[in-house]
Symmetry: D3
Subunit: 180 residues, 6 copies
């Protein structure tokens, strides 16, 4: 398959793990330039979205530096969710430089970009059960091994910002920001 | 019971089925003019709300044409949800021509319109278990018979816009628009 | 020029005047079915947007009835403004049945639909200086003749809902909803 | 005129001046309990709305303490603007204890509450040209006398929080938060 | 531990019960002045948030009057949820007079205020299983004893506004405002 | 003056001109790493904000490539305006990697960051009257020389996307998206 100059890959990266890195590398095997979109950019401090966009931005930068990927070849852009799904693709396009291929395995992302006429390509998974942000957050809460699922620099950053403590505390709060 | 000129009937119509058509006909047995409100108008491409407001608008038009109901007797108006429930009735009133009776069986809709002083009337159900949009979406996902629960023109339209495919794909996505 | 089945014509209709009626008739000379979009649908009770969407909906219905245009040939749909202009066309599409031509003279509307690849057609003006909603509101405030610029049924409706009184009072309030 | 137990008086209080205090006292001559609504509550750091809601809250408390008005007789409640004017009254009602009279001279506030069926009463002005928040902000920018237009405690508080400096700096910025 | 002049205590108060009153009293044992924030202020008419902010405001006022707590010592301020958790503390600060201690047991509230550098203090619970708003709403729905868990004046007010009826009706509606 | 590792510089860049490039270079004379924030990120297709965030993103990338500034030394991040000014800094912080100095001449930006405790530094202007986006848009509308005020690559990109035509058309529309 032949591609143009620029692809986009959108994830939530809560946190950015080795499966995400694998997907980024796969993207670079197809296109020379990649936009990495931080999805659900408005959320943080929830069990599903513990980290801020700024923290996730730093994780990606650290992981790609560690992997020796040149900063000249990618851009990182926050992408908030849109309440109206049907306009989300149009919003993404308004916020990013132009791209000609979308890398995604997420069914809704795939469908919305396809309905808008984009070229969408699946990413081969790297052991999906294991390299999953949900699994990593679960292991942190249950005090199981998780550190090998992340790039070293990301694991260290998460400890620096007391990210483990945050995930564990959020697990105790089922009703965000509300005492009853 | 005596009524004025215009009633309102609000549903989500995901999709518009024979139970909805039954309710519309019941409304017309009470009032000569009906506003049909498309509720949760901002949503589409979710499991509970697969279709856009534009698509639901077309479904209603097709179903009522098929049933021989004159377009001169009804208006279709999109009604988004309001985050603040207490102001929703006031919002509905600001977006529609005036009406003097509300047809609804949905408990919250009934309560909000009653608290605001409106005349609310229940609609006799047409086999509620069967004629339910939730049931229809479930049957589509499980590849069971569903086609007889819809007006023919709506069933055909859903196939034209690849609506079945959309519902089935959305069923695979529990985290809208987010790959983790 | 050959057209498909359905066109869209979007205005604010504050209030709906004979120039708007002229544009609607022009649309019907080109297509058999018309979507009439009520723009800036979220606004009312300001000097530029005195009437609610519900009131404007009623004005259009009355004017087209008076002009003998069958209700079977058009639909009226509220269209709120979007803060992000670039996604507005995509929002309009999500809220309406499909259309294949856009009737507009408003520069931004023309540009946004053109950038999105739509077929846009200009409407010949009917004495633009005179048949203008801004001019009509100005005349009402200055107590000058305005009644001949509107369809009779719309002029009567405006008096029924005390619309003149509202426009005059709003002209006294430069800072909406705020006493300082 | 006879009144019930509770009235509401809404202003922006940018800043709270002697004219506002006069209006509060007038309210208390009619009702024993008053809700003081801080309007446009979402805004601060603009030329027209320099102070935060928290700062305006403190100003009111200080001014009424200074005037010897018991805290037992009033409540202060932030009231953000609503984009949709027609629902604003319904929003105010949802956020406040019940009230039976509205004190206001602001034309839009008067109109919206009247359209919603409320009892609205005008407040006799105290030298309107002079006791005006717009006038006070203008005098501060032009380095003219302003201090006698405010309760002493409010003037002192404004100096404590460097409010004069803020107003003067904001006057230099016509394009909020944007360098071009 | 030594404290300043003012503390803040934020709850949803759906409804305000004896456990909340206990927390307020605990706050007053530490500081002379208390801001009582009504959290999730935008919500009402849902199973988890049945009462409007105005109704909750009245409940707090009644309960504190009944307990003999002077109105001169506290302020009640509505605090809506923020979609972006990380900015919520900054929003709270913009809407309230300044405070120097936060009373809370809710994990997310505790974490957000701590990350923003505030002094946060836990409140000793008063029989947590029993004095819980969730438990009270559950008892009302199941027609069990609940009245002794509330201040008398609050129980009476809930009956006056037909609050029990509302909770029971909302329990029948799992899909707010939508009939399918 | 000594600085840390990372600064932030926020502008609207409508379009990105040589004055902006000068400011970026000044920033790099103080810090090795720069976050370039695209302010008012939600706006496009207005006279003051003609370009989308995606287009402005591309302009910055082109201009800095042309100036020989390595992509490894900066990040570009969209920053929407916040309705509530007081929370804007907190929002910026949540969306970006951490920074320790803010470069700005815009009075409100300066004030908000200072009130939040940040180190803010003024940027020496490069012929302010001339190198101004407002001036450039004005010259384009009046068909005067403008091309020398922009980096060559930005001028070419603006022509490629028909940006001049867009600015000129928007100048004809004083009421965005509304025909009256």
């Amino acid at each position: 398959m032949k591609h143009g100059n620029c692809g986009i890959y959108i994830g939530r990266f809560q946190p950015f793990h080795l499966g995400h890195l694998h997907a980024v590398k796969y993207g670079f095997s197809k296109v020379p330039e990649l936009i990495i979109g931080i999805g659900s950019a408005q959320y943080s401090h929830t069990l599903e979205n513990p980290f801020t966009t700024g923290e996730r931005f730093t994780m990606i930068k650290l992981a790609l530096d560690e992997a020796g990927i040149s900063r000249s070849s990618y851009f990182i852009i926050p992408i908030p969710d849109a309440e109206i799904h049907k306009i989300w693709v149009s919003y993404v396009v308004s916020q990013t430089p132009s791209f000609d291929v979308v890398f995604s395995n997420e069914p809704l992302t795939v469908r919305l970009f396809k309905e808008a006429g984009f070229n969408v390509e699946r990413i081969p998974f790297l052991d999906r059960e294991k390299y999953s942000a949900t699994e990593i957050r679960k292991r942190i809460i249950e005090n199981k091994d998780w550190i090998l699922l992340l790039p070293k620099s990301v694991a260290k950053f998460m400890e620096d910002i007391k990210g483990l403590e945050r995930i564990i505390e959020l697990a105790q709060s089922d009703k965000p920001r509300a005492s009853s």
